[in-house]
């Protein structure tokens, strides 16, 4: 690495620092500014011109959002619950369905395996808006509109091809000898899947889980169409309505946004390594 840097001139040190500052400011500015507003007093939010550094740190906005007797407490907590149910439900269902399929595609040669894998790979490229109307009709006809399981099923279908792809590319890299040894000891395929492949594939499983969770936590168009009633709408659908209903209350909007941002930010900070491998497998599909 150091060797091919020697072609750089003396300017490189300065350029490196300037680029670094730009990258950090660009990446964090919207999050920083949202946090400043969320913890600011109403007067400081309206301050013009705005002060770059926080002038006050208080919890008034969170109180208006979540506190006892607040107008938004009920809908917000319900949407938070829906977001958690839908994202977790989608992640669990997706992994449960994707893991056996990924194992079969990686390890077994069976009639039609190549054709099925090709079809699933092609569905990676199917955009959400192309399937939105027929799925809306299907959900209406079967009474699954505005139900948690209906949204979870649609979100699962959207996440499944990528999850299969991520898991399959992990399993392919694992040594086959271990499986053979377990088989000789008389373990069945499901035992092999559970006690040998499972632990080995854990990093891939975490990568697929993080990518699936983040995609369903952030999904908007799907819940906007299939879960837009007060009982099932997730945060991504509720928060934009605040911009209309409480258009001048930036404090309330930013407090709500900050709550919705917390789980993804924690996941990225804690599981960065897995997330990156998942992202990379997804992008180079």
């Amino acid at each position: 690495m150091a060797t091919h840097r020697t072609g750089y001139g003396p300017l490189w040190g300065t350029v490196r620092i300037v680029v670094g500052i730009l990258v950090v400011v660009w990446s964090l500015a919207p999050i920083y500014w949202g946090a400043v507003i969320a913890f600011a007093s109403v007067a400081d939010i309206r301050r013009s011109p705005a002060a770059l550094l926080p002038q006050s740190i208080e919890l008034g906005n969170f109180g208006r959002l979540l506190g006892p007797g607040s107008a938004t407490q009920g809908v917000f907590l319900s949407a938070l619950g829906s977001s958690v149910i839908q994202a977790l439900g989608t992640t669990v269902l997706t992994l449960a369905v994707a893991l056996p399929a990924a194992y079969a595609f990686a390890r077994l040669r069976f009639a039609g395996s190549r054709l099925l894998l090709t079809v699933i790979t092609i569905t990676l490229a199917v955009p959400v808006y192309l399937v939105l109307i027929p799925l809306f009709q299907l959900a209406t006809a079967t009474g699954q509109i505005n139900t948690q399981q209906g949204v979870i099923l649609v979100l699962t279908s959207a996440a499944l091809p990528l999850a299969i792809w991520i898991l399959r590319s992990h399993i392919v890299t694992l040594p086959e000898d271990l499986e053979a040894a377990a088989r000789l000891d008389g373990a069945g395929t499901f035992r092999v899947l559970g006690s040998i492949i499972g632990p080995l594939v854990a990093p891939g499983l975490v990568a697929a889980a993080v990518v699936t969770f983040l995609a369903s936590w952030g999904a908007f168009l799907i819940p906007l169409v299939y879960a837009n009633s007060s009982g099932t709408e997730p945060l991504t659908v509720l928060i934009p309505t605040f911009a209309n209903k409480f258009s001048s209350d930036y404090g309330l909007q930013s407090a709500a946004g900050l709550v919705a941002v917390l789980p993804p930010v924690l996941l990225v900070v804690l599981l960065q390594k897995y997330l990156l491998s998942g992202l990379l497998k997804g992008a180079t599909k």
Binding site: H4, A29, A104, F110, T118, V119, Y129, V131, P134
Partner: protein, 317 residues
């Protein structure tokens, strides 16, 4: 690929061929059953919730189909001609082109710049920098829209307005999102904020994949950094660049959430995906919605083919 499939299909469909060793064919049948059983749940979900609706959309785009009149009659290309000559759709097409250019340029330049910068960092520094860089990708599109709306606030309490005015770049506070062209550029940049991280990750992996010996050899041969970048880095990075470009196109054409939050369903700002939503879920004209979504998908597919051709043709020599 096609030859493989041809070889597989008869075996899957035709009667089992007599085998000289009955034990082997029984084992093969067992493998077939097991494989299909493991894949069946996933394939069922994809068949019902992806393949069926895809076909249904394409078929529906050739039918007259409104919510008020559930009688779906074949109407040829009428949905397509109506949608393609509709002002809303034409404007959406134009907007999408604008987003496409802004997002592609931003993701390419910022992604490449950031990836090259990251390559100069090592160990813990690189891990910390990567975490910071990936953060925007993880934030839901609608929440990203809300966060950016505080920065783009048309009054003096907006971050962008107060910074630009204090350094003297603007004389009065600007309503950035209401401007016709600047609005598209600004929204495109907020989308790039979410999209650059993926570009950085892909390009960094591409850069790391270039064998160091090539650089060392070219240094011996007397090439400077700029020459190296032009004659080694860029050509060898072409597959990664194609992925980044493709993601930009997919994103621009399917863009919905950030625009929805920042300016609503404003016809001057929506993309083709947005026009599809208007036709289907505001006007309840599903036929138009189908046609718009098929056109959007076809454009995406065409752009992908052009990119792939560019990558593979150039790689041949």
């Amino acid at each position: 690929m096609r030859a493989d499939r041809a070889a597989l299909l008869p075996a899957a469909r035709g009667p089992a061929r007599p085998s000289p060793r009955p034990g082997r064919s029984a084992a093969r049948r067992r493998a077939n059953r097991l494989g299909l059983a493991l894949v069946a749940p996933a394939f069922a979900v994809i068949a019902v919730l992806v393949l069926y609706p895809t076909i249904s959309s394409v078929v529906g785009s050739f039918q007259r189909y409104e919510l008020t009149d559930p009688n779906r009659a074949f109407s040829g290309l009428r949905n397509y001609t109506a949608v393609l000559s509709d002002d809303t759709f034409q404007q959406a097409l134009l907007n999408t082109g604008g987003y496409f250019v802004v997002i592609t340029l931003a993701v390419l330049l910022m992604g490449l710049g950031t990836a090259l910068w990251l390559q100069s960092l090592k160990g813990a520094w690189r891990a910390i920098a990567l975490t910071v860089i990936v953060l925007p990708w993880s934030i839901p599109g609608t929440v990203a829209g809300v966060l950016w709306s505080f920065i783009l606030n048309p009054t003096g309490s907006g971050l962008l307005n107060s910074v630009l005015k204090s350094v003297g770049l603007i004389g009065s506070y600007q309503a950035w999102l209401n401007k016709p062209i600047a609005g598209i550029v600004v929204i495109g940049l907020t989308v790039a904020w979410s999209a650059v991280p993926l570009g950085v990750v892909v390009l960094l992996a591409g850069l790391e994949g270039i064998p160091r010996e090539i650089y060392e050899q070219s240094l011996v041969d007397g090439a400077d950094r700029l020459r190296q970048f032009g004659s080694i880095t860029l050509p060898l990075l072409r597959p990664a660049l194609a992925i980044v470009l493709l993601n930009g196109a997919v994103l621009a054409i399917g863009l919905f959430d950030q625009v929805y939050v920042l300016v609503g369903l404003d016809p001057d700002k929506i993309t083709i995906a947005g026009s599809m939503y208007l036709y289907a879920f505001r006007d309840f004209n599903f036929g138009f919605g189908f046609a718009a979504s098929v056109v959007a998908t076809a454009i995406t597919a065409a752009i992908s083919l052009v990119y792939l051709r560019l990558v593979y043709r150039e790689e041949e020599y």
